[in-house]
Amino acid sequence: MIILTGNDLKSGAVVWWDGQSWSRHVNEAADVGDKAEEILAREEAARRVNVPYAIEAEKDANGVRPAHIKDRVRALGPTVRPDLTMKPADPAALDWVI
C-alpha cells in the first residue's frame, strides 16, 4: 500500500494521512493508491503539514507497517526512549521497528 506522511506544521509531530485529515497514528494511515501526488499537492498548498511525502507500507492484522526503518522510527518515536514513544507501555514496540 502507499501511504502519506509528514510533520505537523505547528508541533512538528509525525502525522499520517487517514483519508480525510492527518492522524498521529500510523495504523490509521489510508492507502492512497495512485492519488498520492494529487493529495500531496493539495495538502502542501494548504500549508498544514511540512514536506509530506508518499511511502510504501504493508498492512496486516497488526496494523500498518512502513517499509523503511526510518519511517518506522518516525511512527513509533525514539527507540532509546520508550517512555516518549507512541507506545510507552508496549515492550514489543521496539521489535516492530527493527
Partner: protein, 544 residues
Amino acid sequence: MYLYDQYDQAMVDARVAEFRDQAQRRLDGKLSEDQFKPLRLMNGLYLQLHAYMLRVAIPYGTLSSRQMHALADIADKYDRGYGHFTTRQNIQYNWIKLEEAADILADLAKVEMHAIQTSGNCIRNISSDHFAGAAADEVTDPRPYAELLRQWSSFHPEFAYLPRKFKICVIASDRDRAAMKLHDIGIQIVEKDGEMGAAFYVGGGMGRTPMIAPCIKDFVPLDRLVSYAEACLRVYNRYGRRDNKYKARIKILVHEMGADAYAKEVDEEFAHLLDQGVEPPFAELERIRTFFEDPAFAAAGADDEIDRSDPDFALWVDRNTHAHKADGYVSAVVSLKPVGGIPGDATAEQMHLMADLARDYSFDELRVMHTQNIVLPHVRKSDLHKLWTALDEAGLGTPNLDRIGDIIACPGLDYCSLANARSIPLAQKISQRFADNGKEETLGELKLKISGCINACGHHHAGHIGILGVDRKGTENYQLLLGGSEAEDTSLAKITGPGFTEDGVVDAIETVSDLYLSSRVEGERFIDTYRRIGMTPFKEALYG
C-alpha cells in the same frame, strides 16, 4: 565570562523579534515551507524525525550557572525535560513546537544566549578547549580570541552565504583537546620568541571526505588575527565550489588547490586587507580579555590534600579530574555517559544540579566538552569529595573519562532525519558490555566514536575505534574503523572491512580490544598498539 554589551543584546533581541514575525507568518500560512526553511535554519531550528529541533549556541563551550539553569528551564517548559549536549559544544532540544520557538529564543536572550548561526552555510559557533583558562599546559586562555572571532563572525555580511558551513576552533596548548585540526580553520595560539601569535591550520574536517588541516601559517601576530581569518574566508568564498555541495567545504578547495597555493592566495588577500581597517582596535581585545581574568583562587593550603580512603572516589579523581594551573585546584569532568545511558543527554534536574554545583564549587562556571561531557573548570581539591558525592547521587559520577564507555555518539536514526542507522543503542550496548565484562579498567584510554551517517557528527573518523552506521538494503549495518585520533597526533581511522550487524559490531569491538590486550607492550594505549602492529592483525582477528 564574557558579558553582552548593549550592541550584543540589541542584536540578539532584534533577531528574536524578527524570527517571531517570520514564524507567525509561517503559522498563518503566509510563508511556504520553502520560503520559511532558510529563515528558521538561520535561527537553529531544524525539522527532525519527530519534531522541530532547536540547536542553541554555547560559545567556546563556556556557560555560567545562570545560563545552565536557563537551559534546564527550557528543557522543562518547552521540551520533554531533557537536552542533548553535542559534539560542537552546543545543546539541542528534540521536541520543540514552532508556536513556541520564538518564546524560547526570547528566554535565551534574557541570559545572553541565542541559536543564531547554529545552522546554514555560515560561520558556526566557535569551539575551543574545554579546559581553557584552567589548564596547566596552555600558553594563554584562548577564549578571548574565540570571543573576538565570535563577534567578528556574527552577522558578518560577507560570510552569511558561504559555499558550505564553516567551523572554527581556537586552542592555546600543544595538547589538542578540541579536534583543532579537524575544523575548517583550526587556530593554535602560540608563543614564539616571547611574542604571542596564532598558527592557522586550514582545510580540515570530517564528513564524507575526512581531511586533516595543514598548517598554512605558523605565526600570525595577534593584532592581525581577524584580518588573517578574513583573508582565509575571502579566498574560500571566492574559489570554493557552489555547484556541488559534496565538494563545497574548504577542505576540498585547499586539497585541490594545494595548501601552498591556497596559502599564497591568502597572503595576497591578507596584504590587501591590512590597509582596509578590518582589524578591530587592540583595545577591543583588551576589553574582551577583562572578562576572562582568573577568578579569585584561594591560596594553596594544607586542606588541599585529597583523602583517597574511599576507593570509588579515588577512582573518580584519577579518571575524571585534570591538572589545573592554580595550586590546590583541578578541573572536574562530569560524565554524561552512565553505563547503558544515552551519551550527552542530561535531564533538567541534572542541569540544575550541575549549575548549583558550579555555583558552589567552580566560581559559577561550566564548560561543555565536544566529547559530550560537562566540566567544572575550577574546583578546589578540598571540595572534590563533596562535589563527587552530589554528582554520584544524581547519576553523574561515572568514572570513565576517555575510557571505552565514554563514547561519542550522534543522535542517529532515533532522532536525526539524515541518519541511516541508530547510534545511541549501539553506544548503550557497548558501554554495558564493557562494564559487565570488567575490561574497561584494563583497556585504559580508548576513544570510541559512533556516527549514524557519513556526515560524521559522531566523529567516527577520529576514534581510536570508530563506527559508521549505514543503510544496507533497508537494514542497519555498521562499518568498523580503527586508528583515528583527534588529539595533537591527529589521524584518520581506516575501515576494517565488511560491515556488521548491531550485535555483530559489539562482538567485533570486543575482538579488537582483546587483540590489543594480548598485543600491547608496557605503556601502550590502544591507538599506540594499532599504530605499531598495523591493521592486518585486527583484520585477521575479525574476518579470519
